[in-house]
């Protein structure tokens, strides 16, 4: 059980001093972070920087989900792990790195594959959910579990030189299904293992996910309209912010009369395995 507090300790004030003095954040913002719990799903390219920065920033309780183990080919981008941890659970490795930076953060490693059988109680026990996964099936799973649990979902993705960032199910904005009611054809989906990725691209997006989660926790910019931030690392204008639709009243998940009321089989829904490491390449 996660106990909230009414004031920060002196060691916390010393540690977070540079954030405490920020106008528009302050002691209250830091206390909001301390009393917030967040779940990062995926301790890979996106989850690595996200966990480092959220743990360091003073989030009270940080869950990290990953079923995979550290491999040498991860280390060009997953900078929360290191060479000596090859073969270790990624969730445990990430938790260890966060604890070394900030023992005040209560880190929980969930060394498991998130699926319809176990996702809902885990999602329900956190305030903000961060999608740092690498496949379409888990993205629909997280979306639906966040709608059912009433949690904002900070979604990031990265591939090759490109990245995308959106907050779903937050203050009247859309859910993932409002934008993408039908899963993409399996042959158009590729992951970083197969399509490749410039390591620092998920670095940028993972940092931005941490930022958005902090802004939600500290109630900064609550009046912002829903947007998607699009990152093209090899374009001369690297970022583009686009205005998104609101929640769709006819969405089968978050609409006025939802027809999905519990988690389904997302692997079948997407026609590709969430843990399948060799889907068809996009082209």
């Amino acid at each position: 059980p996660f106990e909230k507090v009414t004031k920060l300790t002196n060691p916390e004030i010393a540690r977070y001093g540079r954030q405490l003095i920020l106008p528009g954040f302050g002691i209250q913002g830091q206390l909001d972070l301390r009393n917030c719990s967040m779940l990062i799903v995926g301790a890979g390219g996106l989850g690595a920087p996200c966990a480092l920065y959220l743990g360091a920033a003073g989030v009270g309780r940080l869950g990290i989900v990953d079923h995979d183990t550290v491999d040498i080919s991860n280390l060009h981008r997953q900078v929360i792990h290191n060479e000596a941890r090859q073969g270790m659970s990624k969730a445990e490795s990430a938790a260890l790195s966060v604890r070394l930076i900030n023992p005040h953060c209560k880190v929980v490693a969930h060394d498991l594959v998130l699926d319809s059988s176990n996702a809902q109680p885990i999602i329900n026990s956190y305030d903000i959910i961060i999608d740092a996964t690498d496949n379409a099936a888990t993205r629909y799973l997280l979306n639906d579990a966040c709608i059912l649990g009433g949690k904002p979902l900070v979604s990031g993705s990265a591939l090759r030189f490109d990245g995308q960032l959106t907050i779903y199910n937050y203050r009247g904005g859309p859910c993932y299904r409002c934008l993408f009611p039908t899963p993409p054809p399996a042959e158009t989906v590729t992951n970083c293992s197969d399509g490749g990725v410039m390591g620092v691209v998920p670095g940028v997006i993972g940092c931005l996910q941490a930022l958005e989660a902090i802004k939600i926790a500290a109630k900064i910019n609550e009046s912002d309209v829903p947007t998607m931030t699009i990152f093209s690392a090899n374009a001369s204008t690297m970022f583009r912010t686009i205005k998104l639709r609101k929640r769709k009243p006819d969405c089968i998940m978050c609409g006025d009369a939802p027809t999905i009321t519990k988690l389904i089989d997302y692997v079948r829904f997407c026609g590709a395995s969430a843990t399948d490491k060799t889907p068809d390449l996009f082209l």
Binding site: D134, T190, I242, L283
Partner: protein, 108 residues
């Protein structure tokens, strides 16, 4: 025949369908007509069909859906806004518009 100057952009992997071009300036007719529909101002439905026919090099099923729209997993932007805000397929394309086709990414 009058034409519209449109800037098409491709991101998130869509550019792989367009000979790796991230931006293509095109001129398209300002009106379309076919058996089913009277002559009408060019809308997104027409632009998508025109793009599939004239620009997609191969495997148009990776661009087109079944209903005259793009396939699932592609988000379309009209001048930096989600096309759903503009009327989706019925949006009448304007001279100078910037239309972006983004493939959603799932990697992480």
């Amino acid at each position: 025949m009058a034409t519209l100057n449109i800037n098409l952009q491709f991101s998130g992997g869509m550019e792989l369908l367009f000979d790796n071009q991230k931006s293509i300036n095109v001129q398209i007719p300002s009106t379309f007509s076919d058996k089913a529909v009277e002559k009408h101002a060019t809308n997104m439905r027409d632009l998508i069909a025109w793009t599939a026919e004239n620009l997609v090099q191969e495997r148009p099923e990776l661009f087109l859906g079944n209903d005259g729209s793009v396939r699932s997993g592609i988000l379309v932007l009209v001048n930096d806004a989600d096309w759903e805000l503009e009327g989706e397929l019925e949006y009448e394309v304007q001279d100078g518009d910037e239309i972006v086709f983004i493939s959603t990414l799932h990697g992480g």
